[in-house]
């Protein structure tokens, strides 16, 4: 019984070697392309990029390996929740969200047992259900190229955790005023900046409705709305920055 199996294997290897010799590596390229389409599979950067060095900034150290794991060794996943720019994470995410094409998180990320992680990095960003992951993906696309505030933040490398401090944001999560004011505050200064010259008491940041949430007007992942206009239809007010 063993003999025919051995023989078969042998023939297969030979045939494969011949094919390989004739196609000069195209088989591997083919294999990589097919892999790239499969969900939840971490694939080589080379399936899209000819050379890794082409996509690195100038003066970047040479990189060995061909997956995101090569980057992780130096660029450790930034788990901090500080309201600060994250240039590396921001750049690499933005670069992989092509205009009109969407994104595929699973090229670099892992999602097993509802845990959302990064390929060969040993870190987990937290629990995330499949639909929430899809939601976050769409928000990332908005963040990279929309006309909303999220894209305004993207331009200065502000990512999710800079606003959503606690954990992976889920549908319906909001951002407290204190968080916004870390960068945009203190409130008194903001009020001074936004004071209209013609009608000083039409200051949107000094509402007669009291201490209202920033998010009443400023929506990050959809178009912002001037709440004042709900009653004061004749006010000329616009929200800069999406």
């Amino acid at each position: 019984m063993k003999k025919p199996l051995l023989l078969f294997s042998f023939i297969f290897v030979i045939l494969f070697a011949i094919t390989l010799a004739f196609t000069k590596g195209d088989v591997f390229a083919q294999a990589k392309k097919q892999k790239a389409k499969a969900p939840s599979k971490n694939v080589s950067c080379l399936s899209c990029h000819d050379k890794i060095s082409n996509v690195l900034p100038k003066n970047h150290k040479p990189v060995t390996g061909d997956t995101i794991a090569s980057c992780n060794t130096c660029h450790r996943p930034d788990m901090s929740i500080k309201a600060e720019p994250k240039p590396y994470a921001s750049t690499i995410h933005r670069a992989h969200i092509k205009e009109g094409k969407g994104a595929d998180c699973m090229i670099c990320h892992t999602h097993a047992n509802n845990r959302f992680g990064l390929y060969k990095s040993g870190v987990s960003f937290g629990r995330l259900k499949k639909d929430e992951l899809e939601n976050i993906k769409n928000i990332f696309i908005s963040w990279a190229q929309s006309k909303n505030i999220d894209a305004t933040h993207s331009k200065v490398d502000i990512m999710c955790s800079s606003c959503h401090d606690k954990k992976l944001p889920l549908t319906g999560d909001t951002v407290e005023n204190d968080r916004c004011l870390i960068c945009h505050g203190p409130l008194e200064d903001l009020q001074k900046r936004s004071e209209p010259k013609d009608f000083p008491d039409r200051n949107p940041h000094k509402s007669h409705l009291g201490d209202i949430a920033c998010t009443v007007c400023h929506h990050s992942h959809k178009a912002s709305t001037v709440y004042c206009l709900g009653c004061h239809g004749n006010f000329k007010m616009k929200i800069p920055g999406g």
Partner: protein, 639 residues
């Protein structure tokens, strides 16, 4: 060939029995000669609805139906049939255009009985059970279902009259609750905050659900005027402004409402308003201006103005009290249904739309509806009062849309006075908002402020009620009209020079040193305005107004000394007097006159307090007094 359809609705818990019963019928079909096929579908949109198709080869009685259908109905009645409809159609099965796509999991397609037809042809189109194939030539309705009352009582369904299809007038109670709360208050205005404060003070866990992204609704943008015959500050006595009593306030309110008012509710208001004001001063740190005004329809100087000059001066103290007693405000939480099992039982809970999705909250003690009126729902206000045309602006915030009144009606609550809709006569003409300058025309009349039209002529007794002042303007047919007053009146009527300066900067107040100059600035015939003012000054001296019969008081100041001011005004939809019927305990009353257990309402969402026309500055005392009553009683309900 004939198709006999039996559309049934069954008790949700009896699905298993239904299936086994139909299996039993299916296995004994031999005895029914002429039956070609037996099919049984579940409507995947309405989980309780099934339809049974019986195909008959021979003619059956098209008006009576087959014995088999009666057998099925009888059988189903034993296992929780709620409602059914039967009819017979003439059909040609071969011409039927069934969708050959996949049948959904919840559509059970019984195999053919006799004369096998191609199975694919019998595939039912998902969700489209109602859409019968063409080739229907005759149709006979046999039987309609049972009454709606029985439906709710027998099956644990809340009535849902919002559905377009009357047959589908049922909304199933949630299988599980996401949360349990003692007292749920809907709305975070005066009434809601007052109710939450009193309920919280008595140990109840209170949550305030507010659909808007900011708290306070109409209350926080309200004019900040409060009618009370007295307060701990005793301003009337201090400023020597005559006499007043709860009885006098009561009489004024009834007269102002054309005696449509429910007297016990007016009594609550007039007797409770001074205490409620003191409560906000003592517990909430509310501050009042050292002024008291006599407003339209009131026979005494009893209108207090809050220091901030806007309703926020009352909502902030109320919020402070409510939060002190543990009440939590949840913004962006909109109720979408009130749960009640049947027409006898208590409120069970509410369905809420939150930013994180739908939640069902079980209510242990009581629900307090304080969700305001419907001035911003053009369709609703015109449905009750066609004269309130869409062209009218509104002083209200965008959330004043009245859907909670419909939710309450859907579970049996009674309403009254829905057609009585008040216009605020002095709103900003362009947008209809009630901004700070728009309060002056209302507060100033007791001190001699006059209203003039574009020709510089008076057109109404300024001390008239709001409906009269509004109609007088509308009948002029020339927008806008103006209030004319002088600097001497400003602080007396509860205004401040700071407000005047701000108003001038915005172009709301027009200032002039002489009446002539004012008329020029208003582009009014100068002589007319001069003449009008001169005449009115004389009327004040004579103590008599022969033109409009205004009751002249000693507090009224003649327009002799400048500077003079004018402010433009025009009516805008302001307050819906009608709403849910409550009793003196703020309990909601149903359409049979009975109390709906565990259900309270207070504020503009209720009807009957103000009758056909609310007197200005009666709204806040109504809201705070009845809110407190609702909160006290809600906390005392058994969990």
């Amino acid at each position: 060939m004939y198709l006999e359809c039996i559309k049934v609705r069954v008790n949700l818990n009896k699905e298993k029995e239904l299936k086994s019963f139909l299996d039993g019928v299916f296995n004994n079909l031999e005895q029914y000669g002429g039956l070609v096929r037996f099919e049984f579908y579940k409507n995947s949109l309405v989980p309780l609805d099934y339809i049974i198709h019986l195909y008959w080869k021979e003619d059956i009685n098209i008006t009576l139906g087959s014995p088999l259908s009666y057998y099925i109905i009888e059988g189903l009645q034993r296992i929780g049939l709620i409602n059914h409809t039967m009819w017979v159609e003439e059909t040609t099965i071969g011409d039927m255009e069934y969708n050959k796509g996949d049948t959904s999991e919840d559509t059970k397609n019984y195999p053919d009985f006799k004369n096998n037809v191609n199975k694919e042809e019998t595939m039912a189109k998902k969700d489209e059970i109602k859409d019968m194939p063409n080739k229907i030539t005759r149709r006979g309705f046999l039987k309609a279902g049972v009454s709606a009352g029985m439906l709710a009582a027998a099956t644990g369904l809340a009535l849902d009259l919002t559905k377009k299809d009357a047959e589908a007038a049922a909304k199933t109670l949630p299988k599980k609750w996401d949360e349990e709360i003692d007292v749920v208050v809907v709305g975070s205005g005066f009434a809601g905050l007052a109710a939450a404060s009193e309920a919280g003070k008595r140990g109840a866990k209170v949550v305030i659900l507010e659909k808007m992204p900011t708290y306070g609704g109409n209350s926080i943008i309200n004019g900040g005027v409060y009618a009370a015959w007295d307060s701990k500050l005793h301003l009337r006595q201090k400023l020597n402004l005559g006499n007043d009593s709860p009885k006098q306030h009561f009489d004024d309110t009834l007269k102002g409402g054309d005696y449509y008012n429910i007297p016990v509710l007016v009594k609550n208001l007039t007797e409770g308003s001074a205490d409620a004001l003191n409560w906000m001063i003592e517990e909430g740190g509310c501050k009042l201006r050292e002024a008291l005004t006599r407003a339209g329809g009131h026979s005494a100087y009893r209108t207090h103005t809050v220091a901030e000059g806007v309703g926020r001066g009352f909502t902030e103290p109320l919020r402070k009290i409510a939060e002190k007693y543990g009440a939590k405000i949840r913004l962006n939480n909109e109720i979408t249904w009130i749960w009640r099992k049947d027409t006898e039982g208590p409120i069970l809970g509410v369905e809420v739309k939150t930013p994180k999705g739908k939640r069902n909250i079980k209510i242990k003690k009581a629900l307090v509806l304080a969700s305001g009126g419907f001035s911003r729902d053009i369709k609703m206000r015109q449905a009750f009062n066609p004269s309130v045309v869409p062209e009218y602006n509104s002083t209200n915030h965008p959330g004043a849309t009245g859907e909670c009144i419909r939710f309450a009606q859907a579970i049996g609550a009674d309403t009254l006075h829905m057609a009585f809709i008040q216009l605020y006569p002095f709103a900003e003409p362009e947008t209809g908002i009630l901004d700070n300058p728009a309060v002056y025309p209302f507060n100033g009349v007791g001190y001699g402020l006059i209203y003039v039209d574009k020709n510089g002529k008076r057109f109404v007794n300024e001390l008239e009620r709001r409906d009269v002042c509004s109609m007088a303007q509308i009948k002029l047919g020339q927008k806008p009209t103006y209030s004319i007053f002088n600097e001497e009146m400003v602080t007396k009527m509860g205004g401040t020079m700071e407000e005047i300066e701000k108003g001038i900067a915005k172009g709301r107040f027009i200032k002039a040193n002489t009446i002539e100059e004012l008329a020029q600035k208003l582009k009014m015939p100068v002589n007319n305005l001069v003449e009008t003012v001169k005449k009115h000054n004389q009327y004040l001296k004579d103590g008599k107004d022969p033109d409009f019969n205004k009751p002249i008081t000693k507090a009224m100041i003649p327009l002799e000394k400048g500077p003079f001011y004018a402010v433009a005004q025009w009516p805008a939809v302001h307050h819906t007097m009608g709403g849910i019927r409550i009793n003196e305990k703020a309990q909601v009353i149903d359409i049979w006159g009975k109390v709906i257990p565990k259900f309270y309402a207070a504020g503009e969402v209720t009807g009957g307090v103000h009758g056909s026309n609310r007197l200005g500055s009666n709204a806040i005392p109504d809201c705070v007094v009845h809110g407190r009553i609702a909160g006290i009683n809600a906390a005392q309900e058994k969990a």
